[in-house]
């Protein structure tokens, strides 16, 4: 049965069929037919204040739920503004579908008003992209876009929509089947390889689990917990996987890498079997590759075959979905357990002793002072109020690393940040997306004063939609992470990192219509945060923290992860301005 509908109506119908309830977007000339069809349509449109934030909000929505986020922008500048958000979603494997307007098909290539080669520009920014040439192919393309975004290794998919494609009428028949013969998803894992992995795991004396964002994506948290408990191995989770194992779990030994814990990095360095699941041996994790896990055999489980052996050769590769592979692996391990469990008991006990010794040697403890507010202290107080249950959206920089070190998460999908791309400005719009996705949750946007000022206009989106987001600006008056590197590696010659004239939170809040408060003394920190959480609506807290605090431990760029520094190599003089 077919029905005569316009392209815009067909598009919205396909979105409804995909279960979309909310679009983050910004209208424009060529999208007018679509926005006309959205008038009084049940799908909610959230008007952000910049297209980049539409993509970030859609990512926040997707990361908080696992469902595909949708963003939309007009042709030309709208589409180019989206691009940073697309690359961000690509790097962190976040499922989003971006809909962009395009000039009339007859005008494409003529340098028409607000024309850009969106298809060409976003080719490298997306998992796949489409330019729709006729209304008839629209339903197939939309369903393919959602399928591609959400399956396999998820990622952003863009659909470029010329104005006439949205305008013209067409007989609509729902598409029930899509066929992408070249799109290969290997999710099951090779049975023989899984069996060999189980054997290697029981034979290891110093096993270590290295879990990444793939655990969160595939919903494998429960399997991960059972796995580490069964093999009684210490486990680290990467920046993208915080919460994949509850932070309070006895086997959890924090995050590895550049700002990871001493125990995690020493564990990675001394393990004899590294079991990597849903992770990609990022340079921020491995440090100098030649010195990374030098004594370890590597089992690498990942759904993306191109990640296997990309940075570190795998002794045993398994291509598959983390959840399905772990399930099967657990089953085989259990079968073999009676014969193997005790074989390396003394060595494994000694391994745990070592791990515990490293943990005790350099524990991750937030610095606190009576006279000034330490940034770590702010995170610790947010953590106290969250108690492992709130959604925390971070921006990029020092505060992000302190969050990763000190926030506890009892579940996955509570920690939302920009990991791979490290795009400043991500935190606030991501919180908008997360709060729309999870209206029941307490959402914190913990942001630096730099990143916050990149997305300040979203305060309008927050107040317009009554989103009760608690914004905590960890304000050191600097681009803190850049300042830290200038301090440590460029003789403290501070160049272009001072952020003067931060707007007064009380005034900024008043201007945008939300309560704002500046906190300057350690004694006021806790009451102020409690007041913010008690407030039924949004709240803006500007916390003035000590400006010269650095994130430690730190693995200097190019260093081995066992070569961490815990303080300034030499006394720091007053900054040279």
């Amino acid at each position: 049965m077919s029905k005569l509908m316009t392209g815009s109506e067909i598009l919205l119908e396909c979105l409804v069929r995909e279960g979309v309830d909310c679009i983050f977007g910004y209208p424009g000339g060529v999208l007018l037919p679509l926005y006309d069809a959205m008038y009084e349509h049940p799908i909610r449109h959230v008007l952000v204040r910049h297209e980049e934030n539409a993509a970030f909000a859609a990512s926040g929505y997707a990361m908080a739920t696992g469902r595909t986020g949708v963003c939309c922008a007009t042709s030309g500048p709208g589409a180019t503004n989206l691009t940073t958000g697309l690359v961000n979603a690509m790097m962190d494997s976040v499922p989003i579908v971006a809909l962009t307007g395009q000039v009339h098909t007859k005008l494409i290539g003529s340098d028409a008003f607000q024309e850009a080669d969106t298809f060409g520009i976003t080719r490298a920014a997306t998992k796949h992209n489409f330019l729709v040439k006729s209304t008839a192919e629209l339903p197939r393309v939309i369903h393919e876009a959602f399928y591609l975004a959400s399956t396999g290794r998820p990622g952003p998919v863009l659909v470029d929509l010329p104005k006439d494609v949205l305008q013209e009428g067409c007989h609509y028949t729902p598409v029930t089947e899509i066929h992408l013969p070249g799109y290969k998803v290997y999710s099951e894992g090779h049975t023989g390889q899984i069996r060999r992995a189980a054997q290697m795991i029981w034979e290891a004396e110093r096993p270590m689990v290295y879990a990444g964002g793939g655990i969160v994506t595939s919903g494998a948290s429960e399997e991960l917990r059972r796995f580490v408990e069964l093999i009684e191995a210490p486990a680290v989770t990467t920046l993208m996987a915080l919460g994949a194992l509850p932070s309070g779990h006895p086997n959890f030994i924090s995050m590895p890498g550049m700002h990871g814990s001493y125990a995690a990095n020493m564990g990675m360095t001394h393990t004899d079997l590294l079991i990597a699941v849903g992770t990609r041996f990022d340079d921020r994790v491995t440090g100098r590759l030649s010195a990374f896990a030098p004594h370890a055999k590597v089992i690498h489980i990942d759904i993306d075959p191109a990640e296997i052996g990309k940075n570190r050769a795998a002794d045993l590769p398994i291509v598959g979905d983390a959840r399905r592979v772990l399930k099967k692996l657990i089953k085989v391990l259990e079968e073999l357990a009676p014969y193997h469990r005790e074989r390396n008991a003394p060595a494994r006990a000694a391994w745990w002793d070592e791990i515990r010794r490293w943990q005790a040697e350099h524990p991750l403890e937030p610095a606190v002072s009576d006279t000034e507010i330490k940034p770590q202290h702010v995170i610790a107080e947010v953590d106290r109020l969250s108690n492992g249950e709130a959604i925390v959206c971070a921006d990029v920089g020092q505060h992000q690393m302190w969050c990763a070190q000190f926030m506890r998460f009892s579940h996955p999908r509570l920690w939302i940040n920009s990991g791979g791309l490290g795009s400043m400005g991500f935190g606030l719009p991501a919180a908008v997306g997360a709060q729309f996705a999870r209206p029941d949750k307490l959402v914190f946007a913990v942001v630096g004063d730099g990143g916050f000022q990149m997305s300040i206009p979203e305060l309008s989106t927050i107040t317009s939609n009554g989103l009760p987001i608690k914004i905590v600006v960890v304000n050191n008056g600097y681009l803190g992470m850049v300042r830290q590197w200038q301090t440590l590696f460029y003789n403290n010659r501070l160049c272009a990192v001072t952020l003067d004239n931060f707007p007064r939170a009380e005034h900024l809040g008043a201007a945008y219509g939300l309560p704002g408060r500046t906190v300057e003394s350690p004694g006021d920190l806790r009451p102020a945060l409690e007041e913010a959480v008690k407030e039924p609506g949004p709240y803006l807290l500007d916390v003035k923290v000590s400006p010269y605090e650095n994130v430690y431990p730190m693995v200097p760029a190019g260093g081995a992860i066992s070569e961490m520094i815990f303080e300034e190599p030499k006394p720091v003089e007053e900054p040279v301005e």
Binding site: H179, K310, P412
Partner: protein, 185 residues
């Protein structure tokens, strides 16, 4: 090191851009690239010769195989395969040299496809090294102009591409394979 990749891909706008994008984004220089429709008009066969560090060859093949429009990418550098390249050459041939040029062309199995007072147009097919040699020889006769087709390859091993079957779309999908995606606490 030069590597020859044979690709089967969907004949769709942008497919070529995606493949070359994988190579250019990693800074690899393409030595030659040929592409044309197969027996099935919806598919194209592409042969790429590219200069890649031997250790990264597998990685590049995997990255190309990830592209949605690519049905199969195989490395035919070291596997049983036949590669050929075609060359068209214009050579200036004064009367005195004409007989010698024709003799050389015959040795290389080349064909004269046009003849004029000024000279010949010659077509020759073969492996890359043979064409290089032909060019060297003909240079000795004076000014030449050359157009090469780039390498085409056919694998001598039968490797059927593994194609994904159709999947349900929209409402149907929700009840099937995609339900395990969202995990809410």
């Amino acid at each position: 090191m030069l590597q020859t990749i044979s690709l089967l891909l969907e004949n769709k706008p942008g497919a070529l851009l995606r493949v070359t994008g994988v190579l250019s984004s990693r800074g690899y220089n393409i030595e030659s690239l040929t592409v044309a429709r197969t027996v099935d008009p919806e598919l194209s066969r592409m042969t790429i010769v590219v200069d890649i560090d031997p250790q990264l060859r597998r990685q590049v093949i995997k990255q190309i195989n990830k592209l949605v429009n690519v049905l199969q990418a195989i490395d035919v550098t070291d596997t049983p395969s036949v590669t050929r390249e075609m060359l068209l050459m214009r050579v200036r041939a004064p009367r005195a040299a004409r007989a010698a040029i024709l003799k050389e062309a015959e040795i290389f199995g080349a064909r004269v496809v046009d003849s004029s007072v000024d000279g010949f147009a010659i077509e020759v097919t073969g492996e890359t090294e043979k064409l290089d040699e032909f060019i060297n020889v003909m240079r000795g006769y004076g000014e030449i102009e050359v157009t090469r087709s780039g390498v085409v390859a056919v694998s001598l091993e039968s490797r059927k591409p593994r194609l994904s079957p159709p999947v349900p779309a929209g409402d149907e999908a929700k009840n099937n394979h995609r339900v395990n995606k969202g995990v809410l606490n």
